[in-house]
Symmetry: C2
Subunit: 221 residues, 2 copies
């Protein structure tokens, strides 16, 4: 396919694909006549992958390149893969992904929120980020999305319950004058959130390492 | 207390405290004779709080100042607090926290790992980050730490199970030649991890918003 078709099928603009080519994230196409290049399914797959890393994972170009290099290693060991996952820090960024997939993803998120009865402000960053992740999952044709989404949400609800327990405990511990009560409660909530994020992110990475180690053993066995 | 005592009781060095004073994160001490300043318990509390935001949350000075300003607002509404939490992105950073608290925190983490039977590489970044979070929790004198830690770990294990389900589904979907199988599996694992991080972080923030909204209602009622 030509670069324009690669762009339309991947949902990534031609200038962005050219940027991927320039920075070496994407391998050059096969040269044809008329000074053009031909791209195949492997290019399409790679563009979708880069999009997941950059748009959803918030990885930098450098980190994305590292991830792709790890994937491309022929004899990649499970251990090396875990080390790459551990060393790559995803700084969250937001991009707007457009199109039909976005409409479907917005529907996924609304269904989840109403299904769980969550009282959340529509349009919060967290909700936008979740929508982006759902777009990516749809881009990857993950049929199991809704089931998995609900399972993740259940785990998140448990973590949030922990945050609330911590916030309550910290608030009860503060011995302050009544006129400072409100600030003390705010402090407890903020500390619980910061601590909760750090605990969740690190424990999730550790639990994943364990789950993947089992999965690798199964694949190798 | 003098600045040296504030430093030893908070575990933060005198130069760092002076930096907090210069950047306005910490209010000036009460002036005394001899061109010195006197600090009270509110300063100690504030230094500990800054440490949690910077060392554990990985917040920038700017984001920390915003958090502190929100806490200091007398009539802070729950809604405003949620907006601040939502807008502040924690870019994970690592600092080495030393001392007895660290030894105790290392013990907390080992107990957790062996209790759950997790196969994880000792010294991974995730484990270091978890240890930092435990140091902070101990700094804040959270007696419930071990119980809460295990509850967070249980939620993380559920999320990691979801990652494995996604990795397995993505790997099964890839129709590739046997010699590319390994790269395809690696790709599935990396995509599942990136997606899993984004889903967990956003869903956790949304579930927390719901949990805190209920907590605010309880406190106000």
């Amino acid at each position: 396919m030509r670069i324009s078709e690669l762009a339309s099928r991947s949902g990534v603009s031609v200038p962005t694909i050219k940027y991927y080519l320039r920075t070496g994230l994407l391998a050059a196409g096969h040269p044809t006549a008329h000074n053009q290049a031909h791209y195949d399914e492997s290019h399409l797959r790679r563009v979708r992958l880069i999009r997941v890393f950059v748009d959803v994972g918030g990885l930098t170009v450098l980190a994305t390149r590292e991830m792709l290099a790890a994937i491309d290693e022929r004899r990649l060991s499970g251990e090396r893969l875990l080390a790459v996952l551990d060393s790559t820090r995803a700084a969250a960024r937001r991009r707007t992904l457009e199109g039909d997939l976005r409409t479907a993803a917005v529907r996924d998120v609304s269904a989840l929120v109403s299904g769980r009865g969550w009282r959340v402000r529509p349009g919060s960053r967290a909700m936008q980020r979740l929508t982006d992740a759902c777009v990516a999952a749809r881009l990857l044709k993950m049929r199991e999305l809704c089931a998995v989404l609900d399972a993740y949400a259940k785990a998140a609800a448990c973590a949030a319950e922990c945050d609330a327990v911590v916030a309550r405990a910290l608030a009860e511990r503060v011995g302050v004058a009544p006129d400072q009560q409100r600030a003390a409660l705010a402090e407890a909530v903020v500390v619980a959130a910061v601590l909760g994020n750090a605990l969740t992110a690190s424990l999730h990475a550790m639990a994943r390492e364990d789950a993947l180690t089992r999965l690798f053993a199964e694949w190798d066995g």
